[in-house]
């Protein structure tokens, strides 16, 4: 690594190039294609849950309508706004990285992180409320409405927790990625930086945002 460090100090304009690549252009293209392919795998990953959602909603439409009423539309709506705003600040972070403005980049990344954490905190209160009302899947599940079969209503909450839980895990990973990017940007503040890592993180973050754009109406806004 020392030789590499020296190389950068001698040529501050040289970007880091992996041993497997011929030039920076090839590296940039490879990373970008790689990220898009990864996002395709992510779509397929969520796809299994969406397929399950479609099946059960088609099987039990009335029960799903009844069950979705127990979700907090206000908190869900606020979270949608929070996540959309974070997507905007992420886009600004990418732009700052492209213009090589490291201070702006760090602040936008921190802002995005703050929104992401806000999202998770709101999610925590939503989950907590569901736990308190026995709306968590498992032996203690109790829908509390004699007109609605308990087990079928539980199916809605199975999928609610599986889908939003998996999405929440992705938000958490996004926060970790942003922390790494902030550290990297500050450490390399005096060098010319490759904006590709921020751009790829941005793609990931927009993907997380888009998944929520599907989850919110499917879970919170049925029949509206």
């Amino acid at each position: 690594m020392t030789t590499h460090q020296e190389a950068i100090e001698h040529h501050p304009d040289e970007l880091e190039l992996g041993h497997q690549f011929e030039d920076i252009e090839q590296q940039t293209e490879a990373y970008t294609v790689g990220m898009w392919v990864f996002l395709v795998t992510e779509i397929m990953f969520f796809g299994g849950l969406f397929a399950a959602y479609i099946v059960y909603r088609a099987l039990y439409p009335e029960i799903w309508y009844a069950a979705h009423e127990k979700l907090d539309k206000v908190l869900g709506g606020v979270n949608t706004a929070v996540l959309l705003t974070s997507s905007f600040t992420m886009a600004l972070a990418v732009r700052s990285a492209m213009l090589n403005r490291w201070k702006a980049q760090v602040s936008y990344l921190l802002a995005t992180m703050a929104f992401a954490i806000t999202f998770l905190v709101i999610k925590y209160f939503e989950y907590k409320e569901k736990f308190e009302h026995h709306l968590f899947p498992g032996p203690n599940f109790n829908f509390g409405d004699p007109g609605v079969p308990n087990d079928k209503a539980q199916m809605f909450f199975n999928l609610y927790f599986a889908m939003t839980g998996l999405h929440g895990a992705h938000v958490l990973i996004g926060v970790i990625v942003m922390i790494a990017l902030v550290i990297r940007t500050i450490n390399m503040r005096n060098q010319r930086q490759d904006f590709i890592p921020v751009e790829l993180a941005g793609l990931y973050w927009h993907f997380v945002d888009i998944v929520w754009i599907f989850l919110f109406p499917l879970l919170y806004l049925i029949g509206r």
Partner: protein, 539 residues
């Protein structure tokens, strides 16, 4: 074809550094390929041992060696280990990793760190699967059908499902790496239509890995959640739908058959052209048939559900689509046969494996048509006919391809020649042993022997004894191969850069290849398989 990079160089990827650390932290795709080879061989040995135990139990009509419970655990881990930890990674992760960058003239795959990471999570998955074996085994069958697997099985299902889940990510990342590598790392002049067919086959395979594996990952994850948290997505007692599991599972696991067979087909294309010394007949057709198999392969999963109670209309559509897959598969067989025609065929051991592949895959494929027919599938469902069919594809096809490729590129990989006479012997013994094992199983299935049973009526014993005898011969074949290959690493004669007179960039560099693959970046100036035809006395 390329700039001469084949001068004898002392330094190569094997002797560049001898320390253990240099292997465990290597970013060299060739070394990672070797790591995979060692790991999957261990898994193969264990899965194969379980197969041998299964055949031992079936020697006699009564279940006298193992209890039914133990037998269930045996065939489950036999399936789990050999499918998830041998067949799926075998050719792509080992030969694909080793060869794709060499074949397209690149220095490495696009993401070497991800590549190494894939091997680590693959190995971790394998260790967890063995952990499951140690703590009591699994008895669900490798298909993990719900609700038995999710709500009733008292065995280590959660751990096994986790193992398959983790190994799945290794597969996803390998596929991702190959797609980006093939798209972005090709040497100048290496156009899409000059790619070796091995690379085309791996491209199609990678598409399946990337699109299919995440679906089975989330499905197995849900099974795990169901066991741990008691959510009931697949449990009918809780309002869930077990058929949904089968749909999601086979959406991956049917295409997974093509993850096993397409790379083998890529290997066979290389072998047939080299040992016929002819340009392959209909290059574009062979290339596109790989893509067609990948695409159609995603549309046929419902043929596993013919007897599950899915709608008759769905069954008819899936039956039709299943017949459709036969077309691109047959295109390949016809093109290989046409390549052999008027070729100067040399029967070296890799070629024997390739010819064995063509025969066995044809039998496996044609019996697949029986099973795709709705009327035939009803009596044959879950009998030994199915067992024989998929073993013809997955063992007869994928393992013959694996062994053929292993022998073909062995000199390039190790720098040593193996004893050719033993290679031919091994090809012969494996072929005979294989057929003796699985041909009787077609008849058994036709007679009604169900799969997954430790005991059976006495009148079927002759066929079972034949099958077990075949399994012993097959084992001997594998042991011969393992012995002389290992022997050749230490005592074999030094291999020249291109012992078979083959075309392709991987033969243009040193043997074994240097760490950077090529001294200078190769420039490709001719089509793939540009063998001079009708020239006598070459090779």
């Amino acid at each position: 074809m390329t700039e001469p990079g084949g001068k004898t160089v002392q330094k190569n990827y094997l002797n560049a550094d001898y320390s253990i650390k240099s292997w465990l932290f290597t970013l060299d795709h060739k070394r990672i390929g070797i790591l995979y080879l060692l790991t999957i061989c261990v898994f193969f040995a264990i899965g194969g041992t379980m197969a041998a135990l299964i055949r031992l139990e079936l020697l006699t009509p009564k279940s006298d060696f193992f209890t039914s419970d133990t037998y269930n655990k045996l065939f489950t881990l036999h399936g789990v280990i050999l499918i998830f930890f041998f067949l799926i990674p075998s050719i792509p992760a080992f030969l694909g990793n080793f060869l794709i960058p060499l074949m397209i003239g690149a220095r490495d795959v696009a993401f070497p760190r991800l590549n190494l990471f894939s091997w680590y999570i693959f190995t971790l998955g394998g260790l967890i699967a063995f952990g499951a074996l140690v703590v009591g085994g699994v008895d669900t069958g490798w298909t993990f059908y719900t609700p038995y697997s999710s709500s009733f099985a008292q065995t280590a299902v959660t751990a096994t499902v986790a193992a398959a889940f983790i190994a799945g990510f290794s597969s996803i990342f390998t596929g991702l790496n190959f797609i980006v590598t093939i798209h972005k790392m090709r040497a100048p002049g290496m156009t899409w239509y000059r790619l070796p067919l091995f690379v085309w086959a791996h491209y199609a395979t990678s598409v399946i890995m990337v699109l299919g594996t995440p679906v089975v990952a989330i499905t197995l994850f849900l099974v795990g959640l169901e066991r741990v948290l008691g959510i009931g997505i697949f449990d009918p007692a809780k309002g869930g739908d077990p058929i949904l599991f089968q749909h999601l599972f086979w959406f991956y696991s049917h295409p997974a058959v093509y993850i096993m067979i397409l790379p083998a087909m890529g290997v066979i294309s290389e072998l047939i052209t080299c040992f016929s010394h002819r340009k392959i007949f209909g290059y574009e057709f062979v290339a596109y048939s790989s893509i067609a198999i990948a695409i159609i392969g995603f549309l046929v999963w419902g043929h596993h559900l013919f007897t599950s109670g899915q709608s008759r209309f769905a069954s008819i559509v899936f039956s039709f689509l299943t017949f459709l897959v036969a077309i691109p598969s047959a295109v390949k067989i016809f093109n290989w046969t046409a390549t052999l025609y008027k070729g100067r065929v040399r029967f070296e051991s890799p070629m024997l494996f390739a010819l064995g592949f063509i025969g066995l895959f044809t039998i496996g494929g044609l019996t697949g048509l029986y099973l795709a027919s709705l009327g035939m599938d009803i009596p044959l469902q879950d009998t030994y006919f199915v067992v024989a069919h998929f073993h013809y594809i997955m063992v007869g096809g994928a393992i013959m391809g694996f062994l053929g490729g292993l022998h073909f590129w062995w000199p390039k990989i190790t720098g040593r020649m193996y004893p050719e006479a033993f290679g031919k012997l091994s090809a012969l013994v494996v072929f005979i042993g294989f057929n003796l094992t699985f041909l009787p199983q077609f008849i058994l299935g036709y007679l009604g022997m169900p799969r997954r049973y430790a005991s059976y009526p006495e009148e079927w014993q002759v066929l079972h004894v034949l099958s077990s005898a075949g399994a012993s011969i097959l084992t001997v074949g594998y042991l011969i191969t393992a012995t002389y290959l290992i022997w050749s690493v230490f005592c074999g004669e030094k291999a020249p850069a291109n012992p078979w007179g083959a075309k392709g960039l991987e033969w243009q560099t040193a043997t074994p290849p240097i760490p950077d693959n090529f001294e200078h970046r190769p420039i490709v100036r001719e089509e793939a398989y540009a063998y001079e035809e009708n020239v006598k006395g070459a090779a």
